[in-house]
């Protein structure tokens, strides 16, 4: 790995089967103002194919080493110098390139380190009660079942919307998969740091790799692995919907439901947090709030709380809102205006791009009220605090609540609790005063990842 020096640009090398690999002409990573900030080696498909071959040949991490490796790696990720970068420098780079507020990045560093430390026990939480963890597990004699991998190589086609996106694949490593991570080209630093920290902690080069690629080579990666997770929009979800080897992670469309028996004024903090914490860029941020009764007062109160958030460069300690290149900010602003046609704008009606004067712009919050819970706007999820407030009635029923990653329900109606839990297209339900973005190690994000990676295998050991 390249040491940081003042004269050399920072290089993010691929981390392949034989260590770091630098391509002949690395591509440039720019910050939100368009200034070059690092050089990223995008490996060609041939390199990817050979890397997958090496992963396939490698053994899983020894179960005995798991806890030590993850503890050491978590410590290095959170506080150490990894790949030549101190944690402060790493966080500044993430903030400058992804436009994520520095405070959000810092919290994510701590959060990710916690997920690293708990990766092995988290992964094991998804194991069915009847399945032995391995042949030496005494429960095998009662249940005749072993938890086994469905493949050997797991690929991650990651996104750069939030540094926390890299928490999921740690469980795959813990389950014995060999893992290849394709980082976001916009924010490759988190994936690089995490892979490097895990390698520093003892995971072999042929067990875990960082394979930055262009879009075309990403296909080689996803198709070459036994299992893959791919982040993207609705197009990605549609593309992989029928591919059992690929787990698409699409828009979260997280929502909040408030019924008439609950006063939203008691929960305004949680509502604001659901919309705007994490910079509003995560799939677990609330996209829509449905209110039984008049939604206008809630929309007004929410807008009042969000409008005071300052417009600051992302690396400012006080920054809370995401920043992106000015041109993209204007495109997003124009797009929002088109989508919002016919709704009542409480905040952001005149646009949401706030130029910082250096080529970048802050994405300011938007609050719109729709006429009905069935309004198509409720499906529009954008990468900044942008929320649609809609009236909801019992007659609307479950339909507007479907296709939701996290649904926070502020209601005392136990019947409704049952219905929400039973609804297949709602992945997670939080009752009471809990923001939609709450996550914890061992708690499923979109079901346990192991549901996709493992199977229960009958094993009978007769007398021999």
């Amino acid at each position: 790995m390249a040491p940081v020096s003042t004269t050399e640009p920072l290089h993010l090398d691929a981390l392949g089967p034989r260590g770091a690999y630098r391509t002949r002409v690395p591509s440039t990573v720019t910050d939100v103002s368009g200034a070059p900030i690092a050089r990223l080696s995008l490996v060609p498909p041939l390199y990817v194919a050979r890397a997958i071959g090496a992963l396939r040949q490698a053994p899983p991490i020894a179960a005995a080493d798991l806890d030590t490796v993850f503890a050491t790696a978590g410590e290095a990720f959170a506080a150490g110098t990894v790949g030549g970068l101190s944690v402060r420098e790493y966080e500044r780079l993430v903030s400058r390139t992804s436009g994520t507020p520095l405070a959000v990045v810092r919290a994510a560093t701590r959060g990710t380190a916690r997920f690293v430390r708990h990766a092995a026990s988290s992964a094991d939480r998804g194991r069915p009660r009847g399945a032995a963890s391995d042949l030496s597990d005494p429960v095998l004699h009662e249940t005749h079942t072993v938890w086994a991998r469905q493949g050997d190589v797991f690929a991650v086609n990651a996104s750069g919307n939030h540094p926390g996106v890299h928490r999921g694949w740690l469980e795959a490593l813990a389950l014995g998969y060999r893992v290849a991570v394709r980082p976001s080209r916009r924010e490759p630093f988190t994936a690089h740091r995490l892979v490097a920290a895990l390698r520093q902690a003892g995971i072999r080069d042929d067990q875990l790799m960082l394979l930055p690629t262009d879009h075309a080579a990403a296909g080689t990666l996803v198709h070459g692995a036994d299992r893959a997770v791919v982040y993207g929009g609705d197009d990605v979800v549609t593309k992989y919907a029928h591919d059992t080897k690929v787990l698409p992670q699409g828009p979260g469309r997280s929502k909040i439901l408030i019924t008439a028996d609950t006063d939203w004024r008691d929960h305004l903090d949680a509502l604001v947090a659901s919309v705007a914490d994490e910079g509003g860029t995560a799939c677990v941020n609330a996209t829509a709030i449905l209110v039984e009764g008049d939604p206008a007062p809630l929309a007004e109160a929410l807008a009042a709380r969000l409008t005071v958030l300052p417009s600051l460069p992302p690396q400012d300690e006080r920054a809370r809102l995401p920043v992106c290149p000015q041109q993209r900010a204007r495109a997003l602003s124009a797009y929002l205006k088109t989508v919002a046609a016919g709704t009542r704008a409480w905040l952001g009606g005149d646009g949401i791009a706030d130029d910082l004067g250096d080529g970048s712009a802050v994405l300011r919050p938007a609050v719109h009220q729709t006429a009905s819970a069935r309004a198509p706007q409720l499906r529009t999820e954008l990468p900044f605090p942008c929320v649609w407030i809609a009236p909801w009635t019992r007659a609307d029923g479950m339909a507007p609540l479907r296709d939701t990653l996290v649904l926070s329900a502020l209601t005392r109606d136990r019947g409704l609790w049952e219905s929400l839990i039973a609804e297949p297209s709602i992945a997670n339900v939080y009752f009471g005063d809990q923001p939609t973005h709450w996550m914890a190690p061992g708690v499923p994000h979109d079901s346990y990842l192991s549901d996709f990676l493992m199977r229960s295998k009958a094993v009978y050991e007769g007398p021999s």
Partner: protein, 366 residues
């Protein structure tokens, strides 16, 4: 017309013809009513200059507009220079891949086929290719030029050629339709055919497209047999990025020279990689004076870029068979000084024009 001045057009690629003299003779040939093709004679009045008078050498080829789009519709008989006689027929009609629309069509007369393959064969011998060794060529034939060039190259080295055909247009169609499974199935089908040949015959030279070599690299049995018996690998037909080239040469096929070939239909031949380059150096292709001239220009201004800089590749083909001046390729390359005795530029690290990455997708948070 003084016929004597045209004999220069009949000279071979290694006869030491002055490129400017060759270009002047070619203008006489293509724009004189008795010898020129109907296609060029019909356009001469619209050029805005007199090729016979104003084109005094290689540099003046830049006066021509790029008319290659017209080659999608022109009748092939209109492309044959009348000077070949009324009974003359093209030896081949080649078509471009059709990447940018309907295929463009070019003709190749017997004399150019001879000169073209002579220069390819000579360059291959410079690379130390064995004489008489068995070739496996896996490349598009049919209307495409590359398969034909390779078959003729093998023949000129006294080598029997085994071939596996491919249809790149069908593959492009599948890719465009997102039918990845079918692309894979077709590729596997090609590899199966190659495997039978590679495992069953003593193949000394493999000539293949870049994607096929990448695909071979995944199968250890193929890598083993190629490293064991092949004496040269020739890649062409598509681009190869510098990192892939380095990996193929140093890691996958360390025992076999991997030699690049850059050509296309509008060039009507192929250029071989300069002899003696290391895998870590840029892959340089020298032009073929006096027939194929290259220049590397700024795509916006059309002005030449500085040596060592990247720009758009412009190719002119000038032979008795055809005149295709000033054709702007979809390739980019670094401008390099050509080897001794060649006019124009050499090119290095040829790459496709970078596709504009679509930043159109806005919805979602990823």
């Amino acid at each position: 017309m003084p016929i004597g001045s045209l004999t220069v057009l009949d000279a071979g690629p290694f006869d030491g013809v002055d490129p400017d003299e060759h270009v002047r003779a070619a203008m006489q040939w293509h724009f004189t009513p008795e010898t020129g093709s109907r296609y060029w004679l019909e356009r001469v009045d619209r050029l805005g200059f007199d090729p016979c008078r104003d084109v005094k050498g290689v540099a003046d080829l830049a006066l021509f507009p790029d008319l290659t789009d017209e080659l999608r519709d022109v009748r092939v008989t209109d492309l044959v220079p009348r000077g070949y006689g009324s009974q003359a027929r093209p030896l081949h009609v080649f078509e471009s891949g059709g990447t940018t629309g309907a295929p463009k069509r070019v003709v190749q007369m017997d004399d150019w086929a001879r000169h073209g393959s002579e220069q390819v064969a000579r360059r291959l011998r410079d690379h130390g290719l064995p004489v008489g060794a068995l070739w496996l060529t896996v490349a598009p034939t049919g209307p495409h030029l590359v398969g034909e060039v390779l078959q003729r190259a093998a023949a000129s080295l006294g080598s029997p050629g085994l071939g596996v055909d491919m249809d790149p247009r069908w593959v492009k169609k599948l890719v465009a339709a997102g039918r990845r499974d079918e692309v894979d199935a077709y590729t596997d089908h090609l590899v199966d055919q190659c495997r039978r040949i590679l495992l069953g015959q003593d193949i000394g030279v493999i000539a293949a497209t870049t994607p096929m070599l990448e695909r071979f690299a995944r199968d250890s049995d193929l890598v083993e047999v190629i490293n064991g018996s092949a004496q040269a690998i020739i890649w062409g037909g598509t681009h190869m990025d510098p990192d892939t080239r380095d990996l193929l040469q140093t890691e996958v096929f360390p025992d076999v020279p991997v030699i690049g070939m850059y050509g296309n239909t509008m060039m009507l031949t192929a250029l071989l990689e300069r002899v003696g380059l290391a895998a870590s150096e840029p892959c340089v292709f020298d032009p073929v004076s006096p027939y194929v001239f290259l220049s590397v220009v700024d795509p916006d201004t059309g002005q030449p870029v500085a040596e060592g800089e990247r720009g758009q590749v412009v190719v002119s083909h000038v032979s008795k068979s055809m005149l295709i001046p000033n054709n702007r390729e979809r390739d980019t390359a670094l401008r390099v000084r050509p080897a001794e005795g060649h006019a124009g530029d050499a090119v290095a690290d040829v790459a496709p024009v970078p596709a504009v990455a679509g930043e159109t997708v806005i919805e979602g948070v990823y």
